[in-house]
Symmetry: C2
Subunit: 452 residues, 2 copies
């Protein structure tokens, strides 16, 4: 999956609302109403934990064949998947009229084919497990190095299109990790159908039972309970909006790698190629505004504002972008609205753009440090020194010169696939690929060495 | 610092007790009694946060010169440090008679010289900041790679010898990180004196004010408050006993890399060189039993137990090791006590050893998986296949063949220095050196690339 799936506007809204709602799971979801959520989760997690050691030892060929079998399974089950997806759509339409979200929830034969192709693509990527690095012989003769191993059991909490379920399961499987998936309640039937198909096809191909686990309880209590299971889960990856991040940060006793919001800036330097600057600005804002790597605020050096802003403003306004500018911006784009303090640092996730004219790069970098979310930051310049200084001094998962922020993405960066874009500083920062779903252990080849 | 400093027995006891105690800080510690702990911490952390960007940009030469100046500062301040250390010793003796702990708390001119030498050694290590990796040109022509940057602000919570204060400060400084140190209350005067000397010497050499911060409030509330400061602190490293780990796990909203306990096993295979097996077993248990990488349980293949155990038992008992064995063990070492279920999985941190005779390597690995803490696991064998299988299948920060578990250590593994041994799976596992105190950001050199 890619940055495309992350934090689309209505996902965020959905998540922001869900913790407040008391959700009643569909009747057919809870098979045994006698089992309470902690007991249900305990059973699920014991199965997941037990699957971790055998899964971690599987050869790449077995995992790859399983991924291909799972892809075929999905395609063969198309009718069944569409049927179960229909249940979600029915429930969704009944409760809620938002068409964009219903569209994302919808499976089609083509989308199922795309999901299957995604699995095949992951099958073709290099298996990171077992790769060793830094092997050296120490003065006492022992050889020491690091070897990549799976993290273990990874809990992924998300609210998104059903394809995330297949992608996350496949990425975890390929990297030797058990996944415990907790998708949004609105997609529960689709997610159950997808994981059932994946599990069955996977198990036939030699994947241990429990390796792909879905939490079918949709109430908030299940998430809170999940976040306390540090004996069973090694890592939590939350993907979603602010309230999900807050919930996870406050309640998790398990290590967390957040895929949090992107408040991304593009700074147009005095020495920018203005044609390139316009193309990058438009692409970063308009190409897909609902994603975390879309630009939210444009910073323009005062020396070129008079030349640059009127033309850019015209293009953006024609593209239905709502511009909220500082006073100077509005001198050059009279149709811009007046920006308030709240507009800076805002993740609009829509065709709204904050614009500010700055004195120089120092002011731009200070603005980015104050308002940015350390996700993706861009400078457009022809000046060598300022390019290097911006790359060095700006603190973000990805810092870019002369390129659209929309290119901060696992595929674009050559990782082959990504589970999302991490905004946590430790372990993995920026697009998180297969390698980042592993950790390292030290191995020592000795011949009787002792500590003196 | 090394594994030597970690989890010495009385440290653990100290930590286990401290959260329960309501500690009254020494009167001269709290300079302004009007300032409450949250306000005090806020001021401290704002200073620490502000120091992070300028510190992250310092050239290696400046950091190295500062480290050397700090080393000299410590040596020049010897009399002053001894004086303040005496205050801690006086307070400690008054409240508590444990001599081993008082000894570790004690500074001497020689120990101050050792601390200073530690700083000089860190100055000589390679600076990880700015190292780049994986730089590649993508099909669209943009160049993408990762660059190592400091993590930011690192909070280190420990209870240990005062030298940890200097080591932790130096490792953070060298890796470009601000440190917020929270040492044990029993060493507060020593820690204040050390950080004062380090800060003054560092600042003269160009280190930003606030880069080395010590939390001088010694009450538990200060730790709880610290653990919630995710806006100011990027990473918490707790070093200590079980109750500290529990406290941090439950209350931290900041990412945590734990330096938790080591329940380390040595498995003597049927095909072991028995002389080597005895040397390794004795070294792993006796050389320094109070450390996290000392052996706690010995597993012996039934096929060699009759030959191996009587001789080993004699050596260990002569070395004052208390042996707690299974029934079969006691057949071969009649003076061994009877092991209870509780003895397996126990971190004795003393001259006590649990021993179990196992049927084969599978039983040994199963025992390790059930009772081990994933810290350090050793096999002694001459069999190639079992050596490789043990290395692959055993899950621990360090898995070793034919070497003493006591060698799992940053110096021994060639990292030059370590902040401790991580038992967290993500980011850094095993000895955590300078590189593990950094994270990576992506940098992109573009020439106008857009997302299509």
């Amino acid at each position: 999956m890619s940055a495309e799936d992350i934090q689309e506007k209505s996902d965020v809204e959905q998540i922001d609302e869900s913790p407040e709602k008391v959700e009643v799971p569909p009747e057919d979801v809870v098979e045994d109403e006698v089992v309470d959520t902690p007991t249900y989760l305990r059973t699920l997690l014991e199965g997941a934990r037990a699957a971790a050691p055998p899964l971690s030892r599987l050869a790449a060929s077995v995992k790859n064949e399983a991924l291909v079998a799972m892809a075929e399974g999905l395609e063969e089950a198309t009718d069944l998947l569409l049927e179960d997806n229909e249940k979600d759509l029915d429930a969704f339409d009944a409760n809620n009229g938002r068409e964009a979200m219903a569209d994302r929830l919808r499976l089609t034969p083509e989308r199922i084919r795309d999901m299957a192709d995604g699995l095949r693509q992951i099958a073709r990527l290099r298996d990171p497990v077992g790769q060793s690095s830094g092997m050296q012989e120490r003065p006492n003769g022992m050889k020491v190095g690091r070897v990549r191993v799976p993290i273990g059991v990874i809990g992924i909490i998300y609210e998104s299109r059903p394809n995330v379920t297949a992608d996350a399961a496949a990425l975890c499987l390929k990297s030797g990790n058990v996944c415990v998936l907790r998708g949004g309640s609105e997609a529960i039937h689709s997610n159950m159908a997808i994981t059932r198909v994946l599990s069955e096809a996977g198990q036939k191909a030699g994947i241990p039972d429990g390796a792909i686990s879905l939490v079918e309880r949709t109430e908030r209590e299940a998430v809170l309970e999940l976040l306390k299971q540090d004996r069973f889960i090694d890592l939590i990856i939350p993907r979603g909006g602010e309230s999900l991040m807050k919930l996870v940060t406050e309640h998790s006793t398990i290590p967390v790698i957040k895929h949090d919001k992107g408040v991304c800036h593009t700074y147009i330097d005095a020495d920018a190629d203005l044609e390139m600057a316009e193309a990058i600005s438009v692409n970063a804002k308009v190409q897909r505004p609902s994603t975390c790597n879309a630009m939210e605020t444009l910073l323009v050096h005062q020396g070129i504002a008079r030349t640059f802003l009127p033309k850019l403003g015209k293009t953006l306004l024609e593209g239905n972008v709502e511009i909220r500018g500082c006073e100077k911006t509005r001198q050059y784009i009279p149709d811009a609205e007046s920006a308030t303090e709240d507009d800076y640092g805002q993740e609009f996730l829509s065709l709204t753009l904050a614009v500010k004219v700055v004195k120089d790069m120092d002011e731009a970098m200070k603005h980015i440090q104050t308002y940015g979310s350390r996700h993706t930051e861009v400078i457009v310049t022809k000046d060598y020194g300022r390019a290097l200084r911006f790359l060095q001094e700006v603190d973000a998962g990805a810092v870019m010169v002369n390129a659209s922020s929309r290119l901060n993405d696992g595929y674009q960066f050559g990782l082959g696939a990504e589970i999302g874009i991490s905004t946590t500083r430790i372990h993995a920062r920026g697009p998180m690929g297969l390698e980042d779903l592993t950790c390292c252990k030290y191995v020592v080849y000795g011949s009787g060495q002792l500590r003196e």
